[in-house]
Symmetry: C2
Subunit: 228 residues, 2 copies
Amino acid sequence: MKQLFSGLKIGVNEDLYVKDPESSALGKKIVEKSIVLIDEIGFDSFTFKKLGAVIGSNESSIYRYFENKHKLLLYLTSWYWAWKEYQLVFSTNNIENAEQALETAINVLTRRIKKDSHTSHIDEVLLNKVVVNEYSKSYLTKEVDKEYKDGYFEVYNRLILRLKKMILAVNGKYPFAAALASTVVEGGLHQHFLRDHFPTLTDCNEKLSPAEYFNYLVLSTLKYNTNG
Amino acid sequence: MKQLFSGLKIGVNEDLYVKDPESSALGKKIVEKSIVLIDEIGFDSFTFKKLGAVIGSNESSIYRYFENKHKLLLYLTSWYWAWKEYQLVFSTNNIENAEQALETAINVLTRRIKKDSHTSHIDEVLLNKVVVNEYSKSYLTKEVDKEYKDGYFEVYNRLILRLKKMILAVNGKYPFAAALASTVVEGGLHQHFLRDHFPTLTDCNEKLSPAEYFNYLVLSTLKYNTNG
DNA sequence: GCAAAAGTGATAGTAATACTATTATTTTTG
DNA sequence: CAAAAATAATAGTATTACTATCACTTTTGC
């Protein structure tokens, strides 16, 4: 699968950046090191000035790529979901059996990223950690409706609707397909967070993965319908 | 049920405030109006200075009740979960049938608050909105492990463990009881958010409530186990 | 190879934030 | 009514989140 990605540019909404960070060495460095720094100090403490210091660049230069740190976060997380979408599509497109395809999709969407395939300058292991800890902050804002209209959450939306379709392929009569799809994706992030910080609130640990929990949850609720 | 609450003080961790806001008129006003203002402008734009202007009080006076706005948010959300815990306990404690009790609990935890019982100075409708939009921000921080140890998330923890127990009462062999309980509570907030802002990502709307979705989800996964 | 253009860096400046400290004034209460 | 407690007013600091300007460096197109 690795070769399928090499040379392939992950597409995110162009309004998220002032200048395409993929178009220059500095741009790539900004993206690469912002992930490292956000993981290290958290998004709340993260500033362009600190990032500038890390990459040996001026604050003002970073502003030429991203309007502000909120847009940068949207860029990073959009990149993440686009990457997940590719993984989902490529890992399920030759599976005929709907149930098996759904299981594969759930695995892709809820597994913890351990090894970095490291296709580019982006470290997917760190980016996954950033998404778990910071993604909600990108939409829990007063500007969310406007930004939704502007397509800033396009990739995330599309990904969830793909999963919804796969759920309906298993059981076309299930009435909560969108809610279940969003529960799996958002819940996947949340269970990883709980595992790391509120361990009594989840059963997921070394031996039991969120993927196992969600696979059981989804299949049982979809099959319950048909069994009566 | 209303009378059970009147005169009953909801208990939150004492380290969350410098001076108990319940102990004075100003303290109550701070709590009351902070909910209104956070709902209005969002937690990110909320400052003690703006709150001071709203209540006709000085910024420095607010600092005598809460160290900073993060602690205030923890206070407000703790109050909310404590209030939910009471609702849960009182509405289920005389139900013998485990399945029925669980259904009631899920209803209490995932329903939208519409009417304000308005026991005190706190508007529960607004507070519910604040929790939906801001609760994640209270734990998605770099200080979460320290604050967890200090008991800042005690009430929330206890509430989820109560739900876990009720899940196990229905099916003692279910292996993901804590994960399912946290999925219901956190997912409940999330589905309300989606309904308001990303409507294509949920099936919940005027006619279909998150409570119905979660009831079906939980009962089907718990029963699937026993049916095979 | 050179000039224009584009990109980057350095510096300065502003309004707002998130506080702390001090002192003055008002309110409570013993 | 005096002492104590609570609140208000003012001032001050470091940091944030930018914007603007200008200098310098690198790229590119002829």
